[in-house]
């Protein structure tokens, strides 16, 4: 039997290495997630990139996963922390299934669990460096909520994380309305993802859109959006101002 002895560097106030067990900065990160409630449930979109600082290291990361029968979890931020959260939720769902009582954890319950976990880690100065989006449908009622790495938690009709806060939220506030059809919902999400593709440096042109309804979860195959670069002004931008750019 081997025991791992925890590194005891002493008091964090006096010793600089004492906090070497805390998360200080993220390494491999995912960019924004955008999600909306629509007529039959919830739609969520994300790209499939994992950046390592300013390098685009991974291009095939699924940042949206199904949780149990009723929920979808999307995460932006540190990918390893997202994988850890998936393990926690796996255990949670497993224990729930073992009761075998016909009940199952709905999106509201999972959201609450995640809020507790995130806030608790934040209080110990060792956060899980993610912003999570939790969407789901149970007994006909759709639910969409968000938890940040410091434990800020709320639910809303449309959410966006990361850069999506600045670029997608204005569009959603303007154009979301209740009872969107599936096609309109997808078009709205694609509009937001396209703007993010143009203006977020860590976004890539490879997306997945996930849908959750009373029937279950569907996560689409990866696909890309068309972009437009043919503005006349971009062809020779400094025609009128030689020497500048």
């Amino acid at each position: 039997m081997t025991f791992t002895i925890p590194i005891d560097n002493g008091d964090a106030v006096k010793n600089a290495e004492a906090d070497s067990q805390r998360t200080l900065y993220p390494y491999v990160t995912g960019t924004s997630i955008v999600a909306i409630k629509y007529k039959d449930g919830v739609l969520m979109a994300s790209d499939m990139g994992g950046s390592y600082g300013s390098t685009l290291r991974y291009k095939n990361i699924e940042r949206i996963k199904a949780i149990g029968k009723h929920s979808l979890l999307g995460a932006s931020g540190e990918i390893s922390d997202f994988q850890e959260i998936l393990r926690y939720l796996d255990e949670l769902i497993l224990n729930d299934n073992m009761w075998d009582d016909g009940n199952s954890l709905g999106p509201k319950e999972v959201h609450n669990y995640l809020t507790r976990v995130m806030y608790n880690r934040r209080n110990k100065f060792n956060p899980l460096w993610n912003t999570l989006v939790l969407g789901g449908v149970k007994k006909g009622k759709s639910y969409l909520g968000m938890v940040s790495m410091i434990g800020v938690s709320f639910e809303d009709n449309h959410v966006a994380t990361g850069f999506g806060n600045h670029l997608a939220r204005p569009i959603l506030r303007d154009e979301w309305h209740a009872d969107l059809s599936f096609e309109d919902g997808v078009k709205l999400l694609e509009k937001c993802m396209r703007v993010l593709l143009y203006r977020d440096r860590s976004a890539i042109n490879k997306f997945q859109i996930a849908k959750i309804t009373e029937e279950g979860v569907t996560i689409s195959q990866p696909y890309s959006l068309t972009t437009f670069w043919e503005f006349q002004a971009f062809h020779n931008p400094t025609a009128g101002a030689q020497g500048s750019w």
Binding site: H166, P170, V195, R199, A233, A241, S244
Partner: protein, 274 residues
């Protein structure tokens, strides 16, 4: 070895005399000024006949709104206007200065000013101050070589674009532009899109607010639409007006119309034109 300490005249280029002193100050804890993106949404776009500039009207002093209806679209020349974000004093001073330089240049050459002239004067000035003059500008105008739209950053770099946004609300406004801009917009479509972008900044960014100002510049003609849209009116002002408490004794009531005492003269359009 002879010691030669000759004071050579400055030959141009950079002078590094203060570097050692700046290093010492940084070590002592003085932070160098960083890029300040202050409360504003300013935008510009090129449409089929010219340029449309837009701005919100909120001036902030930290968390407080200092001016609810300030003017952020500055006059540079009869055919060139400039929106300014950043430190208000800096944007005012730098646009006033370049505006007067342009006027003198017009007198000397006898020709209308060109947008790249304003651009070069502004960027030279801002670069020489290494970003300490915190002015982020959207410069637009129509001159003999067509419509032009440029953005100028506090450190002196410029961009030439078909549509541009600056200020803290720039992302909110840019998301509207990226989703809806097309080439060859008509005047009304352009104004509508600019107003939408500014409203997006006003409602989604805390540093921007109040009203929308718009300036449309076409060949030989310009329209300054001050307070084109007022999407934040004061509500709940009591419709009953003010009444004195019932116990007040009214001694005398005399109403003197102001027009008898004061003569108001309309000065024919001299405010900002040549």
């Amino acid at each position: 070895m002879s010691q030669s300490s000759v004071d050579l005249p400055p030959k141009g280029g950079f002078s590094f005399d203060l570097c050692k002193r700046n290093d010492m100050l940084t070590q002592k804890g003085l932070k160098a000024p960083s890029f300040l993106k202050t409360g504003t949404t300013i935008v510009g776009l090129i449409f089929q006949d010219g340029v449309i500039l837009g701005a919100d009207t909120r001036a902030t002093e930290g968390p407080i709104v200092a001016d609810k209806n300030c003017e952020k679209i500055h006059y540079m020349a009869p055919n060139i206007y400039c929106c300014g974000a950043g430190t208000a004093a800096d944007t005012e001073a730098v646009t006033d200065m370049v505006s007067s330089q342009l006027r003198l240049h017009r007198y000397q050459t006898g020709r209308d000013s060109r947008v790249i002239t304003a651009l070069t004067l502004l960027k030279k000035h801002l670069f020489s101050y290494q970003g300490h003059v915190s002015a982020a500008l959207v410069l637009g105008g129509v001159d003999i070589s067509g419509p032009h739209l440029h953005t100028i950053y506090p450190h002196g770099s410029t961009d030439t674009l078909p549509f541009a946004t600056m200020g803290s609300g720039s992302l909110a406004a840019m998301s509207v532009f990226e989703a809806k801009y097309k080439e060859g917009l008509t005047r009304d479509e352009g104004i509508k899109l600019v107003a939408e972008a500014i409203c997006s900044g006003i409602f989604n960014d805390l540093g921007s607010g109040s009203n929308v100002d718009i300036c449309v510049i076409t060949k030989g003609h310009k329209e300054y639409l001050r307070n084109y849209m007022e999407p934040n009116p004061r509500t709940y002002v009591s419709s009953k007006g003010y009444t004195f408490t019932k116990k007040t004794e009214v001694l005398l009531t005399k109403i003197t119309p102001l027009s008898e005492r004061v003569k108001v003269v309309e000065v024919a359009g001299e405010a900002m034109e040549e």
